[in-house]
């Protein structure tokens, strides 16, 4: 269950400093506050979504030091000193990231609820492996669920982004 801690008394808070989408954020967070709630409720970054809340669906995926993590089960204080990237931080100076453009060109989303997490997971994959084959894409991405697209167009979007087309 999501507990919005925003208004609870200041007991046992942990001081944290981290960067979120390139900006430094300093705060005192309760130990049990998840990174997802921190981003959504404290920082107002609503791009990461909550669905399963169990580290299965990947809707809450964000990048912590470049690695895709499920922010629903990742504690906010564990991100101290880390660089966190959310979907809001992906486009640079109004320019879409190639994966964002590729998701549009390949119709790799419908409702869009999985999309922020999907794109960030794909980014984490491509940062580690510039030219994954289809099998590697399917294997890496299986922690991100999409109930709308049937996945095919997402695979195509990632392949296209990796090939730079």
């Amino acid at each position: 269950m999501a507990i919005n801690e925003t208004q609870r008394p200041d007991i046992d808070r942990i001081p944290v400093s981290l960067t979120v989408n390139g900006r430094t954020v300093t705060d005192n967070v309760p130990p049990e506050l998840t990174l997802l709630d921190f981003l959504r409720d404290w920082l107002g970054l609503k791009g990461a979504k909550r669905s399963c809340d169990l580290q299965v669906c990947g809707a809450c995926t964000v990048l912590v030091n470049g690695r895709a993590v499920s922010s629903c089960t990742f504690l906010a204080f564990e991100a101290r000193n880390a660089e966190v990237t959310t979907i809001e931080g992906l486009a640079q100076n109004g320019e879409l990231h190639p994966l964002q453009q590729s998701f549009i060109d390949n119709a790799a989303f419908q409702c869009g609820f999985c999309t922020p997490g999907m794109i960030l997971a794909a980014k984490s994959l491509l940062d580690q492996n510039h030219h994954p084959n289809e099998e590697e894409i399917r294997a890496y991405m299986k922690g991100n669920i999409c109930r709308c697209t049937g996945y095919k167009k997402i695979v195509e979007a990632i392949v296209a982004a990796a090939n730079g087309d």
Binding site: K49, D53, A107, C148
Partner: protein, 747 residues
């Protein structure tokens, strides 16, 4: 010429959705909003003796508690067909997870604490978990009776038909309880004041929610406003009224807006698809001609009717398949049990019906030694033929679609080899087909407003909810095409009942066809007005005018749409408005006959089975959709691919499991849905475009057909690979392995 229809143009919500800007109900912050949580029944069937919420009410930070004792002035019951569902439990609870009380508090932690302070005394009642027991006379009853609805229809004389048949087959199939799992669980923000209600909600049919809330809370329609932002998937789970009355009633006791955001576990306890038991008796001639069919269908509708009665009706119609029946007799019932209420889910009743019907067609084909493709084609209704007595004749041609699917999956090679090609000692492969025909479109009731602004751009207002299916983009394409303005000059506002005109619902594959027509009509009205203004401007009869790329042309001269509006209204001001009304009487009455159109669902699967483990892999899967005309081919494919994968989910592993009335797997760890790992090596969608649909530019809807025939296509492939027929879904490795062992006499 600007042409957008038929092109894979990007969706108009694309930027919002890839940048995280797209706001869903759970992302909204309404001023003064507090948080709600629900206390749910631990018992599947129990009398509620007493509820004491005084302690909870006294907890600091709690703004209101809702129980059956706080419903004064509210009509507490709702339901799309039968009003049997209370906002919170009244005299008894009928399923584990049923809302009993709710708390609004300034934060969720306080709300959670308050829930734990509510004391409820229950008296357990005997449980009804199976449909069979539910219908035994004298068994415990959930409602007055456990029979929620019963539909019959027949034509011809089946008894005579069976007497004339050379062979009669009778088989019983079961279909599991499955859950939609739209990634976004149901979320509603209710705001009650004594002047009216505003609700932001994940509602597919906002206008139907509006009428329910108006009735329940005693308001007129103009006092109730339902706003639906982007939806994180629906698939039927968000159709009709779900959590909205509870959010509003809670707001009424709390005196401020309350957000009720369900968890996935709670969504599992809100709505699901009907489990089914279907017995099909079919009489045939030795040459494979179908003579008579009799079907007995039981659908488990759970604790409340929701859309069960309609689902029973549709399952009954859809079990005839796309075939010609000289005689047919169907009885289809929805039965109450102590489980999550079952409602609409992508193509209501059809996957259950097709599972039975199409599996049996293969049983018959095998027995008669006829190719499964040929026996289908032989009996298939063709264009112009009456499909069901009194209903609209078929506008499409399913036989062509089926042949295309078969060809794509390499059916002929398979037929030549007969069956069961062994890949290695443990792996065998087989191919299977499935097809169905569903009357869709619901009722022809949609309206739209097309506004042309003084700069020639458009705002289109529709009551179609954007669930992900791309309706806003399709509507923009229709308006753009009709008025020759570019796509980026069109915005579409959807689903705000105080702003957009009426639409009945978003479901049954109806929006592109019916709302599409309304938008097209609205655009044509704007065009007519532009031509009138241009006739004045050019002092020339309308017949000499034409429009192109946002201009009206006349004898080599041209004037922009915006300039015409300015000329009429004076200065940079004014706008034109076009209305679109789709009603049973509009369009010369051609939409009145039911159904609006016939949607095919055609699948062909190549299956690889490990006979030692029972594990199934799908190397190749083909789905065919007849779309009349693809407004946006890329989005049409996406709809069909998504539907196909969802179908493979209930075919291979999805199943809600109950034990003693307790749902065992209401979470994504224990309830598995398809992931990238299950994506067939090759997933193919074939779109048929004959321009024969009733929608704009000859289009007809899609989105549901792709889910329908997955089950039988895969099971038929397993049969061809192994000779083993499985009549229960899902085809889990364990079930398949056991069936194989039984067939080998090892059990």
């Amino acid at each position: 010429m600007t042409t957008t229809v038929g092109k894979p143009v990007p969706r108009i919500d694309a930027l919002d959705k890839v940048t995280g800007r797209a706001a869903y109900v759970g992302d909204l912050e309404i001023p003064g909003m507090v948080h709600g949580l629900i206390l749910r029944s631990p018992w599947p069937h129990a009398r509620v003796l007493s509820i004491d919420s005084t302690e909870a009410e006294r907890l600091p930070g709690v703004l209101g508690v809702l129980t059956r004792d706080h419903l004064e002035g509210i009509d507490a019951y709702f339901g799309s067909v039968v009003r049997d569902r209370p906002i919170v439990a009244m005299d008894k609870v009928r399923y584990q997870g049923e809302p009993v009380a709710a708390v609004a508090a300034r934060d969720l932690a306080t709300a959670q604490e308050a829930l734990e302070l509510i004391r409820v005394e229950y008296e357990e009642l005997p449980l009804v978990s199976e449909m069979e027991e539910a219908l035994v006379p004298g068994s415990p009853a959930l409602h007055e009776t456990n029979l929620c609805a019963e539909q019959h229809y027949d034509w011809g004389d089946v008894e005579e038909g069976f007497a004339q048949s050379d062979r009669v087959f009778e088989d019983t199939f079961t279909f599991p309880m499955v859950y939609h799992y739209a990634l976004e669980p149901h979320t509603s923000i209710g705001h009650y004041t004594n002047q009216g209600i505003t609700v932001w909600s994940t509602a597919q049919h906002p206008f139907l929610v509006r009428s329910d809330l108006a009735r329940m809370f005693g308001f007129s329609l103009h006092q109730v406003r339902i706003i639906v932002p982007y939806l994180g998937g629906g698939f039927g789970s968000k159709s009709y009224t779900k959590m909205e009355p509870l959010a509003v009633a809670l707001s009424k006791v709390a005196g401020r807006p309350v957000r009720l955001a369900l968890s996935v576990e709670e969504a599992f306890k809100t709505v699901r698809r009907h489990a089914a038991r279907l017995t099909v008796k079919t009489g045939v001639k030795l040459d494979g001609t179908f003579v008579a069919r009799e079907c007995l269908i039981y659908l488990d509708t759970g604790a409340y009717a929701d859309n069960g009665p309609l689902v029973a009706g549709r399952a009954g119609e859809r079990i005839a398949g796309p075939y010609r029946w000289p005689s047919l007799k169907v009885s289809s019932s929805a039965v109450y049990t102590n489980s999550t209420p079952a409602g609409s889910f992508r193509s209501i009743g059809a996957p259950q019906a097709a599972w039975a019907s199409e599996s049996q067609v293969d049983i018959i084909a095998h027995d008669l030694g006829i190719d499964p493709l040929e026996i289908r084609i032989k009996n298939m209704v063709s264009r112009g033929e009456e499909v069901r007595r009194g209903q609209r004749p078929l506008e499409g041609d399913p036989a062509t679609g089926l042949r295309l699917a078969a060809e794509a999956v390499g059916w002929d090679d398979e037929a030549a080899e007969e069956s069961g090609r062994a890949v290695s000692s443990a792996l065998v492969t087989g191919k299977g087909l499935g097809c169905n025909l569903s009357g869709v479109g619901s009722s022809p009731t949609s309206t739209a407003l097309v506004r042309m602004h003084v700069d020639g751009t458009l705002t289109v207002l529709v009551g179609t909810t954007e669930l992900g299916q791309g309706s806003r983009s399709a509507m923009a394409q229709v308006a753009s095409e009709e008025l020759t303005v570019p796509m980026d000059s069109v915005d579409v506002i959807s689903s705000d009942t105080s702003i957009v005109p009426y639409d009945r619902s978003t479901g049954s594959s109806r929006s592109t066809t019916l709302m599409g027509l309304a938008v097209q009509d609205g655009a044509i009205e704007v065009k007519d007005q532009l031509l009138e203004l241009a006739a004045l401007h050019f002092e020339s009869p309308v017949e000499e005018l034409s429009i192109e790329e946002g201009q009206v042309l006349c004898r080599g001269e041209s004037i922009g749409f915006g300039e015409l509006i300015q000329e009429e209204f004076g200065g940079v001001a004014g706008e034109l408005m076009g209305r679109g009304y789709v009603t049973p009487r509009s369009h010369g009455g051609r939409l009145a006959q039911s159904p609006v159109f016939w949607e095919v669902g055609i699948s062909a699967a190549e299956v690889e089975l490990d006979v030692e483990t029972g594990a199934i892999r799908i190397p190749h899967y083909v789905s065919v959709a007849d779309v009349g005309k693809a407004i946006n081919p890329q989005q049409c494919e996406g709809q069909d691919e998504g539907a196909a994968m969802q179908g493979l989910g209930h075919t291979l592993f999805e199943e809600m499991l109950y034990e003693d009335g307790q749902l065992l797997n209401p979470n994504l760890i224990d309830y598995k849905v398809p992931t990238f790992a299950e994506l067939p090596d090759k997933l193919e969608t074939i779109l048929i475009e004959n321009g024969d649909g009733p929608g704009p530019f000859g289009s007809k809807g899609l989105g549901e057909g792709g889910i329908v025939a997955a089950g039988p296509a895969v099971a038929n492939a397993i049969f061809r690979a192994t000779g083993v027929r499985i009549k229960e879904l899902p085809l889990t490795p364990e079930r398949v392995w056991r069936a194989l062992r039984r067939a080998r006499g090892q059990d």
